[in-house]
């Protein structure tokens, strides 16, 4: 595949993020598919941050293992990223930086970035100077790029003027012989929208009628709450709460009142939500909980990614109760599963956890989204008064009719204690009596029966299988799926016929069906955690042990190259 990657690096406060986003927008406008990601730190000024944007004329699955152009605003940025520049690639850096050692096989291109920025109005415009230079190197028409760049600053004429000047100075700092020295592929028919996982998920939830979002700030989930905060004019209620305990309990209240409701956090906040997760399971209130994982344990690496909470979310809270765990495999799936989660929650009256991670939450992809594919199923809601209403009626499928406060004649108490079919407690004066011990079993079995029902209804999708006839298969889930997909191509180039089995529905698992998919295949487990949690979950459900594992847990997303290298090693038995 023909693609070009550009990386811009600097310090926190240098505007690296906005420069990266701007490049992505310019490339998108030109008709390219985009995949972009940023590296940042839990500091506000200083350190090293980077933003890498990759473009192609077909769908991309990663932000690229190497870069064609690296623009570095600081010495640290050069050190951090120089090894990524491919042979024949360019390193553009601020000529004001001292003693810059290069690499033989790459071209060094010092530019007076700071000096030009000061001419344009201040050193803060270095990022825009850099954009100008990058556009020249890629042979992008300056007017086309500036249209997109300056649209951002329409409301602020001074800033617009300075940015315009900075762009021109950057563009003009390179002679015409440098124009287009990095060749762009022909533009293609790219995905319409440029979204990160969190935004796609928020819009998916909105499309499904989620009208209530509660959360406490925590990286990398915070941008979901910021999206909802910004969109209250849509009639969607947003509440920043005092803690995550309040967030999930508010969501339980809102959903009890008939409103589709969601809360979101990362692993630390989810730890606080755990008790209430069980409440939702016990009183059978549909809720959606987003858990965007970051590197743990404890505070871990707050700005880095990991898939280390899979076993936690599939098992969190005391006792047994039905839940569904979904892990979108791409930005596009963040939208669709973000929407689907609400149907599943309401149909089965249980918590649905959507498991993201920092990489999926924050990387940007070109996507095509069709809101027409979102359908609404609100499950069993009793609206007409009936005699002898049993909110927790024991049914064959385990699902009981739900009534919403405000509905005449159907009042009941939702109790976290064990209760009978009406919601009356069997936990105090009746507990231990033989008849009620039997009833407790029946109520517990009723709730758990919903797990069988969802499998029977085929509402729990089986993993996606690519290349059924392959000799060796990558087994993975969630955000590691896209780099695994790209790894298949790399393996093909190395003469290995590899396939992919990628899960997005993690819990419950249809043991028999999953067993059939995995049995008799040569499998390599690929995950971003240290212990192979998916492999453990599969073993628990199917008895199949996947011994070969390619794991990454240093805080970065696993790359297609690492996956290909790992799989190749196992395949060749070296």
């Amino acid at each position: 595949m023909e693609s070009v990657s550009v990386r811009i690096g600097g310090a926190n406060g240098d505007g690296i993020d906005s420069a990266g986003m701007m490049l992505a927008r310019i490339f998108k406008k030109l008709g390219y598919w985009i995949f972009a990601f940023r590296g940042y730190q839990s500091v506000i000024r200083g350190g090293v941050v980077w933003y890498q944007v990759r473009l192609a004329n077909e769908k991309l699955y990663t932000y690229g293992n190497e870069v064609d152009i690296l623009v570095a605003l600081t010495k640290e940025a050069i050190e951090e990223s120089m090894s990524l520049v491919k042979a024949g690639g360019l390193l553009v850096y601020d000529s004001a930086l001292p003693n810059t050692a290069g690499r033989q096989e790459i071209k060094m291109l010092p530019l007076p970035l700071t000096e030009l920025a000061i001419k344009a109005g201040g050193s803060i415009y270095r990022n825009t100077v850099a954009i100008g230079a990058i556009c020249k190197l890629l042979g992008i028409d300056s007017n086309a790029a500036k249209d997109i760049l300056l649209a951002r600053f329409k409301k602020n004429p001074d800033v617009l003027e300075s940015n315009s000047k900075a762009f021109d100075l950057g563009y003009g700092s390179l002679g015409d012989e440098k124009r287009g020295i990095i060749k762009l592929p022909e533009p293609g028919n790219a995905g319409k929208y440029l979204l990160n996982g969190n935004t796609a998920l928020a819009i998916g939830a909105y499309a499904a009628g989620c009208k209530f979002y509660a959360a406490y700030p925590m990286t990398p989930a915070s941008s979901i709450m910021e999206w909802f905060a910004k969109h209250e004019e849509l009639g969607v209620f947003f509440k920043q709460t005092e803690d995550e305990i309040a967030a999930i309990n508010m969501v339980i209240g809102a959903s009890s009142a008939g409103v589709r409701a969601m809360c979101g956090t990362s692993g630390g906040g989810f730890s606080l939500m755990v008790e209430a997760l069980g409440l939702a399971g016990m009183i059978e209130v549909p809720i959606v909980v987003v858990e965007s994982q970051r590197t743990g344990p404890s505070t871990g690496l707050p700005t880095k990614t990991e898939q280390g909470d899979l076993l936690f979310v599939t098992h969190a809270s005391q006792g047994d109760f039905p839940r569904i765990v979904l892990a979108p495999r791409s930005v596009e799936e963040c939208f669709y599963l973000g929407a689907k989660a609400f149907n599943l929650a309401e149909k089965y009256q249980c918590p649905v956890i959507v498991l993201l991670d920092l990489f999926l939450s924050e990387h940007i992809e070109s996507v095509d989204i069709d809101p027409g594919k979102v359908s609404i199923d609100r499950g069993k809601i009793q609206k007409e008064p009936i005699k002898d209403f049993k909110r927790y009626q024991i049914t064959e499928d385990g699902i009981s009719p739900r009534s919403i406060p405000g509905t005449k004649g159907l009042a009941f108490v939702a109790a976290s204690d064990e209760h009978d079919e009406y919601g009356n407690l069997i936990s105090d004066v009746l507990v231990g009596m033989p008849e009620y011990a039997e009833l407790r079993k029946k109520m517990h079995e009723k709730r758990l029966r919903k797990l069988e029902t969802m499998l029977k209804n085929n509402d729990i999708e089986l993993p996606m299988v690519i290349n059924e006839g392959a000799e060796i298969f990558i087994v993975t889930f969630g955000s590691s799926t896209e780099s695994s997909t790209e790894a298949l191509e790399l393996l093909k180039e190395r003469g290995i016929n590899a396939g992919l089995i990628a899960f997005s529905y993690l819990h419950p698992m249809d043991s028999e069906k999953i067993k059939k998919i995995l049995e008799g295949k040569r499998l390599v487990d690929v995950e971003c955690n240290a212990t192979g949690q998916l492999a453990k979950l599969i073993a628990m459900n199917t008895g199949i042990i996947i011994k070969d594992k390619v794991l990454r847990y240093d805080g970065e997303a696993i790359t297609s190259k690492e996956i290909a290298d790992g799989v190749e090693k196992y395949f060749r038995g070296v």
Binding site: L234, V236, A254, A257, G278, L279, P371, G406, A414
Partner: protein, 289 residues
């Protein structure tokens, strides 16, 4: 016209004979009856503890949640459908111990719910441990030499946090309490009603007699509930010397509720707003990209 039968369920309360919470149940029922609240439009949210079993004793929609979290659940119900009357009810451990954080924030928001705390200065359901409101020196199972930390003063705390309706009732005065609850429900905004509600099984200190000897009614002492300074003065009487302290309405003032100020709530009850159409979603997607 709703009658007593429309409010009281056939469940026999779990309260011990003589428990103060019977008084609260009677007062709450009377308040609902006097206000002619539609039980189907009323949601009573509780936590965990003896007092939190109260939703089962009434024929309203109830959520009997987990310990200390009744306020966020109640806020969620109210924010989702502001047309509902939402009442929270629980104990002192629930509200002033494990859930205290939520109380301060619910007050800040001035969300339009009424919160009744059945305060018995003890953990009753777990059979007699010191609570956040147990008095200094009170000997309990977990303070055999007497409590050595100061009790929470919920009235002063609520006032300091900016509460717009702060009252203290006594289970032994159910009519007075019913009046406080009724006015609390009518009050636009957050209403805290701390109810001194004796535990006859595990608190031998704060008995009905103990209270009767000490309490007097603010309504009969010329207190001006519109004065914050006077309210605070009355609130700390309990801390200065609990030989005499008031019950009644300490403070009430008008203020915007969270629902009145929130952009989404201003468009109507969230439960009533329609789901977005495909073109609504497309518009959002376009704006985002």
């Amino acid at each position: 016209m709703f009658t007593q039968n429309d409010y009281r369920s056939s469940i026999k309360p779990i309260f011990c004979p003589g428990c103060g919470d019977y008084g609260v149940l009677a007062a709450l029922t009377k308040a609902m009856l006097d206000l002619q609240l539609d039980p189907d439009n009323t949601v009573l949210v509780s936590g965990i503890g003896c007092s939190s079993s109260i939703p089962h004793d009434l024929k309203v929609y109830g959520i009997h949640g987990i310990h200390g979290r009744l306020l966020p659940v109640a806020e969620g119900v109210k924010f989702a459908n502001k047309k509902l009357t939402v009442i929270g009810a629980g104990g002192d451990g629930d509200g002033y111990g494990i859930g205290l954080n939520h109380l301060i924030h619910a007050i800040r928001r001035n969300v339009d719910i009424t919160y009744i705390v059945m305060d018995n200065e003890i953990y009753g359901l777990t059979t007699g441990q010191a609570s956040p409101t147990s008095l200094m020196g009170h000997k309990t199972k977990t303070s055999p030499f007497g409590v050595i930390e100061k009790p929470i003063n919920p009235i002063a705390l609520a006032l300091a946090a900016g509460a717009t309706y702060v009252a203290r009732g006594f289970s032994g005065e159910p009519n007075h309490l019913a009046m406080l609850i009724e006015n609390g429900i009518k009050h636009k905004g957050f209403a805290l009603i701390d109810v001194q509600s004796p535990c006859v099984s595990f608190n031998e200190l704060n008995t009905y007699d103990w209270f009767r000897k000490r309490i007097y009614k603010l309504e009969e002492s010329g207190h001006d509930p519109s004065s914050f300074a006077k309210a605070m003065e009355k609130a700390v009487e309990f801390d200065l010397d609990n030989s005499k302290f008031p019950i009644g309405l300490f403070y009430e003032k008008e203020g915007n509720t969270y629902e009145e100020l929130d952009k989404a709530e201003q468009q109507g009850a969230i439960a009533d707003t329609p789901f977005p159409t495909g073109s609504d979603v497309l518009k959002v997607l376009e704006e985002e990209s």
